[in-house]
Symmetry: C2
Subunit: 212 residues, 2 copies
DNA sequence: GTCTATATGTAGATAGAC
DNA sequence: GTCTATCTACATATAGAC
């Protein structure tokens, strides 16, 4: 068809891709700021004005990218979930399941100490409702839960994780340790390095407070 | 002096005491409502209107009792701390320190499952600042920490608590378990009774996830 | 001390020019 | 898509009658 000759012959796709990349980069900067503020102050205390100020754009511009504060926060939660999935992907599945679980717990604590782990939304938070209807988040959470659940039952079968505990209790415990305030408490005491803190909390989590 | 004859001869003190008791009872009802709402929604999401509605008085009346929302919440935190002190008082100090610590952890979990355990205020919450300048709260917290700390070091000396853990790490862990979201997760699953949930979380806390 | 009514600040969200 | 300026709702806190 002759009409195709009307298109500019040079770089039409790259130009559109460039603008898309700018758009995505901007959104990534927004999500990063939201992620940090969510971890620092929580959903209720975080204000959209703060997000706009941190990103360096007007608040109205934020609403061109995300229709509400809940969607803003949900995007950050989805990205954290994707980071978790990527971490799971990178693990050597030939290692014993107990070691895999321990590595996952260690990673979540590193993320938290880096100030990048949003705390769990409380049960009646408006964010909670937004997340339960967010397919990307729910799918990611189920995927992560399935993979961890398989390692948990495998570890219980081989006798390295306490088989008396329901697997779901172990799973929830690992999720809770990702947001454990003990890390912040110990950090605030100023007596220990991040590595020491993580080793202590990993020890209490897997070995318990009692002597062995 | 003859002027004393002008006083009514019957029950002057009881009348004043009665009004004081009414006053205290009203304040106790307020603090109970605040305590429940703090546990349910957290400080930022709780509104003074809700408190007034739950108590059944006008919002302005609340401000005759407590000068600010922070003071309102602080009063509830102080009462929780007093309940903790009273629980510690009632324990049999002749029991092994590990058992004492376990009983304390069990009690905090019972309080949480009863919907009466306020979650810890985040680091930059306005409630945090109010609490650090509240003598009753700080004194209560230090008293509880001292008593638990003594049991922790005693348990470590007799070899029942892991002596490699700094006592402060053990203390912070016990505080964190009092607000552990795992209890709510397991409760929300609808599969376990309160007793089962507490046993599971006590097990993960003291015995760890690993098999023994 | 309790109430109704209101002041005051601030949050999420939008209008409309460019 | 970005901005300034604004709307609207609601939360903390107060005024003032009784």
């Amino acid at each position: 068809m002759v009409s195709t000759a009307l298109k500019p012959p040079t770089e039409p796709a790259p130009k559109r891709s460039f603008r898309q990349q700018m758009h995505l980069a901007r959104e990534d900067a927004i999500v990063s700021a939201v992620n940090r503020l969510l971890a620092e102050k929580g959903f209720e205390s975080m204000t959209v004005d703060e997000v706009a100020a941190e990103v360096g754009i007007a608040k109205a511009s934020l609403y061109k990218h995300f229709p509400s504060k809940e969607d803003l926060a949900a995007a950050a939660m989805v990205r954290v979930m994707q980071r978790a999935q990527a971490f799971l992907d990178g693990l050597d599945k030939n290692r014993p399941p107990l070691q895999l679980l321990r590595e996952v717990a260690r990673w979540t604590m590193e993320v938290q100490l880096a100030g990048e782990m949003p705390s769990l939304p409380s049960e009646n938070s408006s964010l909670r409702a937004a997340l339960t209807t967010n397919k990307a988040y729910v799918d990611g959470l189920m995927d992560v839960s399935d993979r961890l659940g398989a390692w948990i039952t495998a570890a219980q079968s081989e006798g390295s994780i306490n088989p008396d505990l329901p697997p779901i209790a172990v799973l929830y415990t690992l999720y809770a340790r990702a947001c454990d305030p003990v890390l912040g408490f110990l950090k605030g005491s100023g007596q220990y390095s991040n590595e020491q803190i993580i080793e202590m909390v990993l020890s209490t989590c897997f070995d318990g407070l009692k002597a062995r």
